[in-house]
Symmetry: C2
Subunit: 319 residues, 2 copies
């Protein structure tokens, strides 16, 4: 079975771990969000790609969900002593190595997709991880700060401000000019099923879908496209998805997110059992819907979610 | 009193600490060797400049003589896990921060001299540290390896091979095209005394003197130029200076090194008490010479050496 998964960071990575456990023999291609990439200290940092790679490769800081296990922060401490920031972005000593290798390879002329493949040679994530694009896309968030409207990098909004001010708009700068990375459209065309994990619908999956050609390829693939709601009981399971949903005029409900993707894209949608009432509404929007436990409390629970998604795909296929 | 000191790494840095203790109110300008600079992992590393800066700024690993105190090596360990080397060059997590800041500033267009000044803003070494040049100079060593003659980077010869094969030639590549960094010639012209610490006469002080204009400025300064022998009892006090002295046809003796600098450059020379016999020979070469203890066993002993050098300078001046 060939599965394509669109993934952001922590939520996507944890779901993928469950998916691998549910179907160990499946051929899984992950299309990773790169809109949250950021240049820091002259290095190219790809937080979402790395979270997927570290999580599936066994190098993740489990409690935190991002960054490396057994991490130290001496380099960052020293940068601070030199007065060089930002201090709000937590790059650890081990993590730095990934960004140094990536930056060197990019400087040597390799596209991000080739670099990601090389990094994965070490981590052996057990999936094929492809960035959505080799071109530069940078998600900016329009906010009002000190009475002034300005566009800031997504990481500054998310990590520094912790989404404490309303997002007025979310713009994946450069997405309209970006091309899908080599392998992205091919993987979608050859997929048996396409999954949207409970990742952020705006800044993770939304950004991937903003790369011209990807949304169309998914809609035209002719295979079940199944999503899992990142909203449970009208609140994001983790993160601050509600803040950026508001910016695109979408309510923080499982139903609203399904409608935001739309029946032109989505064939099936899983909501949590606490949102069982949403099933009828989602189905009224032309999307097959089931209510199942959606809390990724451990690998087993997550594997069950993945199985439910694949079961719903079979149901869609048989319909 | 304005003192100019030509310095390599560990020997120069330790001597400078003694000099500061001997004459706390002196205005000291250090002209640092950059021939051992190396690009690693896309970063510009300046081992000699950093050794001086860390030693005088209180950040040095005292036992080792180079690198940072309380250091960890997680980043390097991870680079190794990615298969990215060289593994023979010991860059620690704290040390990396210096190279990242330097590389960013150079990328932003600042010359190395301005970058060094900025880094010293943090370390407050209590001296003015200027690289010998803002231009790229890279010391290469010609060796025979596996039956083949090749030129390798000085660091590869020194750190990886530990000078285990004979150096057939030592070439400061680029030195002939280099210009002294801003402030170098001015400091020499305004100096009251110029000191050559017990640094490597070939790859440290020799490289500085290879930058066109510096040797001439020192010879023409009209002030005492005093050196301290890095050779005690026919062997280098530390390091492997004998290996590179052989490459330039100079014996590993206190006398031969003084003659190598020559009376056209050097006015006074300190040898260790065990080399008292050298005094007569050196003076016969037209260089005033004294035998004093030259082991930098601690800061007091080093301060005494510095005082002896300044006393010899006064003697030269009064002659």
């Amino acid at each position: 079975m060939r599965i394509v998964v669109l993934a952001g960071g922590i939520g996507g990575a944890r779901f993928l771990r469950g998916l691998k456990r549910a179907v160990p023999d499946a051929d899984i291609t992950v299309i990773g969000n790169t809109g949250d990439d950021i240049h820091l200290f002259g290095l190219k940092v790809c937080p979402d790609l790395d979270t997927v790679m570290y999580t599936l490769g066994g190098g993740i800081n489990e409690e935190q969900g991002w960054g490396r296990a057994d991490e130290t922060f001496h380099l960052k401490e020293e940068l601070g002593a030199y007065g060089v920031g930002p201090e709000w972005f937590g790059l650890g000593d081990r993590d730095f190595a990934t960004h140094i290798v990536r930056t060197q390879m990019i400087g040597a002329g390799f596209p991000l997709s080739a670099v990601t493949e090389a990094l994965c040679d070490r981590w052996q994530p057990g999936v094929r991880l492809i960035p959505m694009t080799d071109d530069r896309v940078e998600t900016h968030v329009a906010v009002e700060l000190d009475g002034e409207r300005k566009a800031i990098h997504f990481q500054e909004y998310w990590v520094r401000l912790r989404a404490s001010v309303p997002a007025q708009a979310v713009v994946p700068v450069g997405a309209d000019q970006a091309k899908p990375a080599p392998g992205v459209l091919e993987a979608i065309a050859e997929a048996d099923v396409i999954l949207f994990p409970p990742s952020n619908p705006v800044v993770s999956i939304g950004t991937i879908l903003a790369v011209p050609g990807i949304r169309e390829a998914i809609a035209d693939a002719g295979v079940p496209v199944i999503g899992l709601s990142p909203i449970v009981g009208d609140a994001p399971v983790r993160g601050m998805a509600d803040k950026v949903l508001a910016a695109v005029g979408v309510e923080s409900t499982a139903t609203a997110v399904a409608e935001h993707y739309g029946s032109g894209l989505l064939d099936g949608w899983l909501v949590d059992t606490v949102d069982a009432k949403a099933v009828e509404q989602v189905e009224a929007a032309g999307i097959r819907c089931r209510a199942v436990p959606l809390m990724m409390t451990d690998a087993d629970a997550t594997a069950r979610m993945a199985r439910e998604a694949l079961a719903l795909a079979e149901e869609v296929r048989g319909a």
